[in-house]
Amino acid sequence: MHDTAGRPKNVLEVNDLAIRFGRTEIFSRLSFTVPEGAALAIIGPNGSGKTVLLRALIGAIPFEGTLHWAPDVRLGYVPQKLDIARDVPITGFDFLRARAALSRTSNAAAFEMLTAVGLPVEAGAQPIGALSGGQFQRLLVAFALVGGPNVLLLDEPTAGVDEPGQERLNELIHRLQQDRGLTVFLISHDLSVVYRHATTVLCLGRERHWCGPPKDILTPDRLHEIYGAPIAFHVHEP
C-alpha cells in the first residue's frame, strides 16, 4: 500500500517514546518510523533496552510518548529465550493448533510452518519441554508465522540455534520480507546478518539513538562510539 505521493505507508510511527522502571530510565526521546516492507534491525549494547522496546511495541509495557501502529497490522512475535516448565504436557501441535484457532487458520496450514522453519514434523508431537533450546526456538518462529502476520517482531530469534539452523532461519525471515512484503523488526547481535538483510538500523546507545541505513550506522567509528570498544565484523558479500 502506498500513500498519495507513492511512498510506502508507515506501519509504525514512534514519537518521543520513554520507558522507565520505577526511577530507572531505560531510554527516552526515541522517535522513528517504519515503512511497510522494511527490515528494521535493532542493535545496541546489553541493557540498552532493545527487548523492552519490542515489548512496549506489543503493548506489554507502559510507556510515555506516542506509538501508532497502522490499523491493519497482524503481529507475529518471537520472544527472547522463554523459561517454560519442562514437565507440561503441551506438544508443538497443541501449541500450533491453539494459534491456528485464535487466528481462524486451518491446523494443516499451521503444521506446515514446522517444515518452513526446518523442524521435522515428528517434533510437533513431542511435549515442548522435551525439545532442545534450538528446536524450541524454531517452534517459536513457526508459531509467529501462523495466521499470516504482516509484521514480524523477532527478539534474537536464532539464539541457541545451530549454525545451519541460523542460516536457514535468517534466510526464511529475509525471504518473507522480500517476497511477501512483511515488515520485520529484528533484534540481533549478529552484525553481519544486520548488514546483509536490514534496510534500516535502529541503534539504541547509552547516550543517544541512531537510525539509518546499515551503511551509515555500521561504520567502525560509529560502532566504537555505540559499544565503547572497537568492533570488527566480517561482511559476507553475496
Binding site: R55, I58, G59, A60, L75, G76, Y77, P79, L82, I84, A85, D87, V88, P89, I90, T91, F93, D94, F95, R97, A98, R99, A101, L102, S103, A125, P127, I128, L140, F143, A144, G147, L153
Partner: protein, 251 residues
C-alpha cells in the same frame, strides 16, 4: 443417593478436572487451595442471616478471585504472602462465626437434602465452567507458554485471567457440598496433577483429569455413604491414592 445428587457430583467433578489442568500448569496449586478457604466466612455469615450458605460462599469466593486477579500483576512473592495471610485469616474468622455441626459440614462436606434451586445452580454453573474451558482452551494454552505471544495473538489477558479465576471460584462453590472448604481445592489439583504426570499432550491430560475426578467423586461418595463417613475425606484419599499409583507406575 438420588439421581440429582449423582448428576450434580459428576458435573462438579468434570468442571474440577478441567479447571484443575490449567491451575496445575499455571503453578497456582497453592493459591488454589487457599482460595477455597475464603468460602468459610461467607457460609458462616449466610447461616447467621438465614440465607442459603451457598450464596454466602459464592459471594466470598468471587471476592477472593477478584483479589487474586488484582494482585496477579504485582510481584509474585508479595502475592503469595498476601494470599496466604488473607485466606488463612478467612478460615480463622469463618471458624469463629460458624459452629458445631455446621462448621464440620462446611469444612469437610456432606449432609442435607438437595434443594431444587441448588441442583439448578449446580448444573448451570458446571455447564458454564466446562464451556469456558473448552472455548478458551486455546487462548489459555498460548498464555501459559508466553503471555507476550498471547497478547500479539489478540488475547485479552486481563479478561482471560479474570474469567478463569471466576470459573475457578465457581468450581469451588460447586464442590463445597461434597468436599467442604478444606478439601475442595484438592479435588481440583490432585486429578490434574496425576493427569499431568501420565499425559503426553493437552487433550490426554484434560481427559485423564476428568476421568480421575469423576471416578474418585462417584466411588468416594458411595464409599462414604457405606462407611458412614463425610464424603470429602474419602474422595480426596482416593484421589491421592491415584496420584501415588501414577507416580509408582511412571517415575
Amino acid at each position: 443417593m438420588s439421581p440429582e445428587t449423582v448428576a450434580l457430583a459428576v458435573a462438579m467433578a468434570v468442571a474440577a478436572g478441567l479447571v484443575g489442568c490449567f491451575a496445575v500448569m499455571r503453578r497456582m496449586a497453592l493459591s488454589a487451595d487457599a482460595l477455597s478457604h475464603v468460602a468459610l466466612p461467607g457460609i458462616g455469615v449466610a447461616l447467621a442471616l438465614h440465607v442459603h450458605p451457598l450464596a454466602g460462599a459464592v459471594a466470598m469466593l468471587f471476592f477472593g478471585a477478584l483479589l487474586v486477579w488484582a494482585l496477579e500483576d504485582r510481584a509474585r512473592l508479595a502475592t503469595e504472602t498476601i494470599i496466604g495471610v488473607v485466606f488463612s485469616a478467612a478460615l480463622a474468622v469463618g471458624s469463629m462465626i460458624t459452629s458445631g455441626e455446621d462448621l464440620i459440614e462446611a469444612l469437610v462436606g456432606g449432609g442435607g437434602a438437595l434443594s431444587r434451586l441448588e441442583v439448578a445452580f449446580g448444573l448451570i454453573a458446571a455447564t458454564a465452567v466446562v464451556s469456558f474451558i473448552l472455548k478458551e482452551k486455546h487462548a489459555l494454552v498460548v498464555a501459559l507458554v508466553s503471555p507476550d505471544i498471547a497478547r500479539t495473538a489478540g488475547v485479552d489477558l486481563r479478561r482471560l485471567n479474570l474469567l478463569y479465576l471466576l470459573m475457578f471460584a465457581l468450581t469451588i462453590a460447586l464442590g463445597l457440598r461434597y468436599l467442604g472448604v478444606l478439601l475442595m481445592g484438592s479435588l481440583i489439583i490432585i486429578p490434574a496433577a496425576t493427569a499431568k504426570h501420565l499425559s503426553n499432550n493437552l487433550n490426554q491430560m484434560l481427559t485423564v483429569a476428568v476421568v480421575i475426578a469423576v471416578a474418585t467423586t462417584v466411588v468416594g461418595s458411595g464409599l462414604a455413604l457405606w462407611l458412614h463417613r463425610a464424603t470429602g475425606p474419602v474422595i480426596v484419599a482416593l484421589a491421592a491414592g491415584c496420584f501415588l499409583l501414577a507416580f509408582l507406575h511412571r517415575p
